[in-house]
C-alpha cells in the first residue's frame, strides 16, 4: 500500500539493458507510479530515484521493446538491472521480469505463451504470421491439415478449444477455409495456451484454452502500423483523442483478393466462370482512463469470409457460395481498489452466421432454384472477475458469469418456380451460469499450489445440466533450475461443434446441449518437469510433460450423414430431431510432450516432439468397437531455428513433421449390379457405378505431413524515421505434396469406362512469401 513516510527516503538506482546485446539503453522513459512522472535514463541507461518507503510501480513502454511493468515495495536502498526484450530473443514476459531469458522452469509445463515479437520472428505461410500456427509448432498441438489456422490439442478437436479474444469466446477462428486465423497479428499483445492446468476462470470447452489479448490503445501517442503480404493488407492506427484519457485503436485486415475484386470491373454474368472471394476483419477499441484506478475499454470485432463461384452453362447461371460472419462487442471496466484488490466486469454480445448455398437461374425465363443452408447463433453475456491478494503467499480469484444463447443451427431454403419449402431447425434458447473460486497458495519458497472449483449450470426450460469442475495445479521450482508441475482438472462443453468425419472437406456445424445431446466433459491429467542449464552465456532448457485425457459425450455424425447432407438429403422432418443423425460417445487420449530450447548469442533452436494416441468409442458407430480418433497423429515434430546474421538481418527456419492421421476409406468397392431397383433387372457389371463398403471407421492413415519454411528478415529505417521490416521467405522449400483432403475420383480406362481411385489434394507447393511492415 502507498502509506509513505516522508521522513525516510531510500535510493533506487539501476540500469536498463538490451537483453539481446547486453548494451545499456540510453534515454529510456520510465513512468513512476503513483506519481505518474516520467524520468529518462541517462546516456548509459542509468537511473536514480530517492523516494519514501512504500509501493511503487515502474512502467517502461518504449518501442520496439516489450512494455514492462515492475511493481515493488520499497523498504531499503535498492539496485535494479532491467533488461528489455529485443525482437530476436523475445520470450513472453508477464509482469515483473528482470532476467535475460524466461526460464523453462518458470511456468507450468502444460502452458505455452507467445508474445507479439516472438510471433513476428517466425516464418509464415505466404508472409502471413499467425498466432494459431505458431502454437501448432509447439508440443501437443497439431493443425488439422496443412496450412490450417486451427489447433488440435492433446487429442482434442479444433471445436473443443476455447478461443478467446480479449475475454470474449469466438465461434469461428478461420478465414478462407482456415488459411489464416481471425487473430490479426498486428494487434496481438500476447497469447497464452493452456493444454492442461486450466485456471478456474476458464471453461466451456474440453480440450484447451487459448487466451489472446490485444494491445491497449496508447493514450498519449499517435502511432500506427501498416503491413502488406502476398495474402493480405493490414493497417493499425492508435489515435489519442484526449491526451492521457481517451484513445482509439483501429486495426483492419483485408485479403488482397478482396481488393482486386473491388477494383475489377463487374464481369458480365453470361461469360465463363467467375470466382470471387474475400475475407477481412476489423478490431477496434476505445480506451478511457477515468482515473488511475478506473479504466473502461469498449471493443468491437468483426470478421467476414466469402467465396462465390459463378458458372454459365447453356441458359443456366449456376452459383455456389459459402459465407460466414462473426461479430462481437464488449465493454470492460477495470477497477483497482488497491494494490491487493482489483475487479473486472465485462458485458458483451456476439453473433455468428453461416450461409452455404447453390442456385441455378435460367437467364431466359428468369426461373430460379435455390438451396441454401443458414446458421445463426447469437449470445449475450456478463462476466465478473475479482482478484484479491491478502498476502505474499496467497491470492484469490473469484467471479461469475451469465450467458444466454439463441441458436438456429440451420435453416434450409429450397425455392423454385414450383416448389417453395423452408425447413428450419428448432430455435433453441440456452442459458449458462458460471461461478468459480480459486486460491493460489505459496506454501514454501517457489512452491505454488492452486486449488479451484468451477460450477457450471446450462440449459433451458426443458433440461438443465449442472456440473462441478475441480481444478488442482502444482508448480514448484527447486534450486532455481528444476521444476515439477502437475495438474488435474475437469472441463465441460455445452456447445458442440461437429465436423465431417469422412472423406472430403471437414465442414462443421454447431449444436447446443439439449434433452438428447448431453454436455461434453473431460478430465485432464498432466505431470511434467523442466530443467534449465546455463553455461558460458548459453542457455539450454528442456521440458517433458506426460498427459492423459478422458472425454465423455463427444459428438459425431451418424453413418450416412454429414454437415451438408444431413440437412439436404434427410427427410423434411429429420432435421428437427438431432438424435436421428448425431450420436455421442467417449474418447481418451494420452501422450508425452518434449520441448527443448537452446540459445546462444546469435542463434536459437527450439525443438518440440509429441508421442500420443487418441481413440474413441460410440455405441452407434463402428459396431460399438473403439476406433482411432481423427486427431490420432502419433508423432509430431517441429524444429524452429533463428539466426541473427547482422544487426539488421536475421534468418529463421521451421521444419514440421506429422505422422498420418486416420480417415475412413472404403475397404471394398464393387460394381453395382443394379441400375434399378427391381430384382429382375439385375445386370452384368457395366463399369460405371460402384458401391463402397466401409468395414471400419478411420481405417486408413493419410500420408505423413512434412515441410520446411525459411525466411529472411531485414529491419531498417524507412523514410529515415520509421521502423520498417521486410521479410522474404519460401514456404515448403522442398515442394513436398502434403495432403489437404482425400476423395474418391474416377479415372478413365482405355475402354472409356471409369475406374475408382483414391486421390488426395495438395494445396501448397513451394511458394514465395513476402511481408513488409512499417511502424509510424
Amino acid at each position: 500500500m502507498n502509506a509513505q513516510n516522508p521522513e525516510i527516503r531510500y535510493k533506487v538506482h539501476g540500469q536498463i539493458l538490451d537483453s539481446r546485446t547486453g548494451k545499456e539503453l540510453k534515454r529510456i522513459p520510465i513512468t513512476v507510479f503513483p506519481f505518474n512522472k516520467v524520468v529518462d535514463t541517462d546516456n548509459k541507461g542509468r537511473f536514480l530515484f530517492s523516494m519514501p518507503p512504500g509501493d511503487y510501480k515502474f512502467r517502461i513502454d518504449y518501442a520496439p521493446f516489450d512494455k514492462k511493468e515492475i511493481a515493488f515495495n520499497l523498504k531499503s536502498d535498492t539496485v535494479m538491472v532491467i533488461e528489455l526484450r529485443s525482437p530476436f530473443t523475445s520470450q513472453y514476459l508477464e509482469g515483473v521480469e528482470i532476467t535475460a531469458f524466461r526460464k523453462a522452469t518458470e511456468i507450468p509445463t502444460a502452458i505455452r505463451q507467445i508474445d507479439n515479437l516472438q510471433l513476428k520472428a517466425l516464418p509464415a505461410l505466404i508472409g502471413e504470421r499467425d498466432i494459431l500456427k505458431a502454437f501448432s509448432l509447439t508440443a501437443g498441438v497439431t493443425a488439422s491439415s496443412e496450412g490450417a489456422a486451427d489447433m488440435q490439442v492433446r487429442g482434442g478437436l479444433h471445436g473443443q478449444n476455447l478461443y478467446l479474444l480479449d475475454g470474449i469466446p469466438l465461434y469461428s477462428t478461420e478465414h478462407f477455409f482456415g488459411l489464416v486465423s481471425v487473430y490479426n497479428p498486428t494487434i496481438i499483445k500476447s497469447a497464452k495456451l493452456y493444454k492442461a492446468d486450466f485456471p478456474a476462470e476458464y471453461g466451456g470447452k474440453i480440450s484447451s484454452v487459448i487466451n489472446v489479448q490485444t494491445q491497449d490503445a496508447d493514450l498519449k501517442k499517435f502511432k500506427g502500423e501498416a503491413e502488406i503480404s502476398l495474402l493480405t493488407s493490414k493497417i493499425m492506427l492508435n489515435i489519442p483523442v484526449v491526451n492521457d484519457k481517451l484513445a482509439l485503436s483501429v486495426a483492419g485486415r483485408l485479403s488482397n483478393y478482396s481488393l482486386i475484386n473491388l477494383i475489377s470491373p463487374i464481369i458480365p454474368q453470361n461469360i465463363g466462370t467467375r470466382f470471387s472471394f474475400h475475407f477481412g476483419d476489423i478490431n477496434t477499441s476505445l480506451n478511457w482512463k477515468i482515473s488511475e484506478k478506473d479504466k473502461l475499454k469498449l471493443s468491437f470485432f468483426s470478421n467476414t469470409d466469402g467465396i462465390d463461384v459463378q458458372n454459365k452453362m447453356d441458359n443456366d447461371l449456376n452459383k455456389v457460395w459459402i459465407k460466414n460472419k462473426q461479430q462481437n462487442g464488449g465493454l470492460n471496466w477495470y477497477k483497482t481498489f488497491s494494490e491487493k484488490a482489483e475487479n473486472h466486469v465485462l458485458v458483451y454480445a456476439d453473433n455468428y452466421g453461416y450461409d452455404f448455398g447453390n442456385s441455378v437461374q435460367n437467364v431466359i425465363t428468369s426461373k430460379k432454384q435455390i438451396i441454401q443452408i443458414l446458421t445463426d447463433i447469437h449470445s449475450e453475456g456478463i462476466v465478473e472477475k475479482f482478484r484479491y491478494i491478502p498476502s505474499d503467499k496467497l491470492n484469490f480469484n473469484t467471479g461469475f458469469s451469465v450467458k444466454t444463447f439463441g441458436f438456429t443451427p440451420y435453416q434450409i431454403n429450397q425455392n423454385d418456380s414450383d416448389l417453395n419449402t423452408k425447413k428450419t431447425s428448432t430455435q433453441t434458447q440456452l442459458t449458462e451460469g458460471i461461478a468459480y473460486l480459486e486460491g493460489d497458495y505459496k506454501f514454501a519458497r517457489q512452491q505454488n499450489l492452486s486449488l479451484g472449483l468451477r460450477f457450471n449450470s446450462v440449459g433451458n426450460q426443458e433440461k438443465i445440466y449442472n456440473n462441478l469442475e475441480p481444478r488442482i495445479g502444482y508448480h514448484g521450482i527447486f534450486k532455481n533450475d528444476f521444476s515439477l508441475s502437475a495438474s488435474i482438472g475437469k472441463m465441460t462443453q455445452p456447445i458442440h461443434r461437429v465436423a465431417n468425419s469422412g472423406l472430403g472437406f471437414p465442414f462443421e456445424m454447431f449444436f447446443p446441449t439439449s434433452t438428447y445431446l448431453l454436455p461434453e466433459s473431460s478430465w485432464n491429467f498432466s505431470l511434467g518437469c523442466a530443467k534449465d542449464f546455463d553455461w558460458n552465456k548459453r542457455n539450454f532448457s528442456i521440458k517433458v510433460d506426460a498427459w492423459y485425457k478422458t472425454m465423455n459425450n463427444i459428438v459425431e455424425f451418424q453413418d450416412g450423414y454429414d454437415a451438408v447432407f444431413s440437412t439436404i438429403i434427410a427427410p423434411q422432418n429429420t432435421i428437427l430431431d438431432t438424435k436421428k443423425y448425431l450420436t455421442q460417445g467417449n474418447g481418451k487420449a494420452y501422450g508425452i510432450d518434449f520441448s527443448a530450447n537452446y540459445n546462444v548469442k546469435n542463434w536459437s533452436l527450439t525443438a518440440d516432439y509429441t508421442l500420443m494416441k487418441a481413440e474413441c468409442q460410440f455405441d452407434q458407430l463402428n459396431n460399438g468397437r473403439p476406433f482411432a480418433a481423427s486427431t490420432d497423429i502419433r508423432n509430431s515434430i517441429s524444429l524452429t531455428s533463428q539466426l541473427k546474421l547482422s544487426e539488421s538481418w536475421s534468418f529463421s527456419a521451421t521444419w514440421q513433421f506429422n505422422s498420418g492421421k486416420p480417415i475412413t476409406v472404403p475397404t471394398y468397392i464393387f460394381a453395382n449390379p443394379v441400375s434399378n431397383l427391381k430384382p429382375d433387372q439385375v445386370s452384368d457389371y457395366d463399369g460405371t457405378l460402384y458401391q463402397r463398403v466401409i468395414t471400419q471407421r478411420n481405417n486408413y492413415r493419410t500420408k505423413p505431413f512434412h515441410k520446411l519454411d525459411i525466411s529472411f528478415t531485414h529491419n531498417y529505417k524507412a523514410f529515415k524515421h520509421y521502423n520498417a521490416t521486410i521479410s522474404l521467405g519460401v514456404y515448403n522449400v522442398y515442394n513436398n505434396a502434403n495432403p489437404f483432403m482425400y476423395y474418391i475420383d474416377g479415372v478413365q480406362n482405355p475402354n472409356k469406362t471409369y475406374k475408382p481411385v483414391l486421390k488426395y489434394m495438395s494445396l501448397f507447393p513451394i511458394l514465395p512469401s513476402f511481408n513488409w511492415s512499417l511502424k509510424f
Binding site: 483478393y257 482486386i260 475484386n261 477494383i263 475489377s264 467467375r274 470466382f275 470471387s276 472471394f277 467465396i307 414450383d418 416448389l419 465431417n500 469422412g502 472423406l503 472430403g504 472437406f505 465442414f507 453413418d559 450416412g560 450423414y561 454429414d562 451438408v564 447432407f565 438429403i569 475412413t664 472404403p666 475397404t667 471394398y668 468397392i669 464393387f670 460394381a671 449390379p673 443394379v674 431397383l677 427391381k678 430384382p679 429382375d680 433387372q681 439385375v682 452384368d684 463399369g687 457405378l689 460402384y690 458401391q691 463398403v693 466401409i694 468395414t695 476423395y743 475420383d745 474416377g746 479415372v747 475408382p756 483414391l758 486421390k759 488426395y760 489434394m761 495438395s762 494445396l763 501448397f764
Partner: protein, 277 residues
Amino acid sequence: MKRIIPFFLFISSFYGCSHIVDAPWNNTPVPVVYSIISPNEITQVYLNKTYNSNLPIEKSPYPQAKVFICGVDSNWVELSRLQADTCIFEDKQQLLKVEKGKTYYLKIELDNSIIHAQTTVPSNQLTIKDVNCVTDGTTNNSLVNGQIVKNYVCRLDLSFEGTPKTDSGFFISAFSQHLYGSTNPDQQNFLAPVFYCPTDTSSFEISLTTIDPYFSKYLNAQSINSLQSDYSANMVSAITQTFGGVLPPFSNIENGVGLFGSSVTDNRRVKLIKPVE
C-alpha cells in the same frame, strides 16, 4: 485481362494437385453377392467379386460356384446360371415360394469358402390407399434412352396405409424410376408437384415397395454414392459437394460383401386425368 487476375490468383493459390495413392480396396478381392427376393418375383442371385484395379475384370469370377436358397422348410433350392458366362443365378423352376414374414437363407459354395446370409420378408406391408395423377395439358420433352419423349407435366398425389417395422423402409416407383423413398414414414402420403408422364400414355403402373432393413441401408448408401462425381476438373465442387460423412454399413453377407434382402410390392394402375378437349 482484369478478369483473369482473380481467376489466376485463385487457381494459383490452389495450385496443388491431386495425387493418386494406393487404396485399401486394392487388396485380395472378396465375393460380392446381391439378391432381393420378393413374392411373385423370380429369385435371382448375383455373384461377383470386389474391385481391384490391379486385376482384370472377370464376367464370371467363380465358375464352380453353387448357389442355394431355402425357406423355413429347410429344403435347399439350387439356382442355376442364367447363361454359361454370366454371374447371375436364377430359380428357373420357380421352386422357391417367397412369403411375407418368412425368413430365407442363402448359401453359396465356393472352392474354398461358404457364403451365408439371411433375410426376413417384410410382413407389415404398406399398401396404396389412393392415387391421382392430373395434368392441365402442359407438355415437356425429356431424353429417355437417347430418344426425345414428349411428356405431360402432371401432379401426382398418393396416399398409403400401414406402418413398416423399425429400420425397414419403402420406396415409390413408376416408369422404372425411383420417385421417393424413406424409412419409417411420418406422413402417409406423397406428393410430386411435377411428374412427367408420356403423352402417349393414358394410364401407368405405380409401385409402393416395402423393404427390409438391409435393403433400406443399401439404398441409403447407394443414394449417397450417386452424389459422388468426377471432381478432378472442379476443385470447388470437390470441396463443397463431396459427401463428408461415413457411409452406412449395409452388408449382411457372411464371408463376402453385398446384400441379401427382401421386399414386397403393392402395384396400382393409375389413370392419367387430362383436361377435357
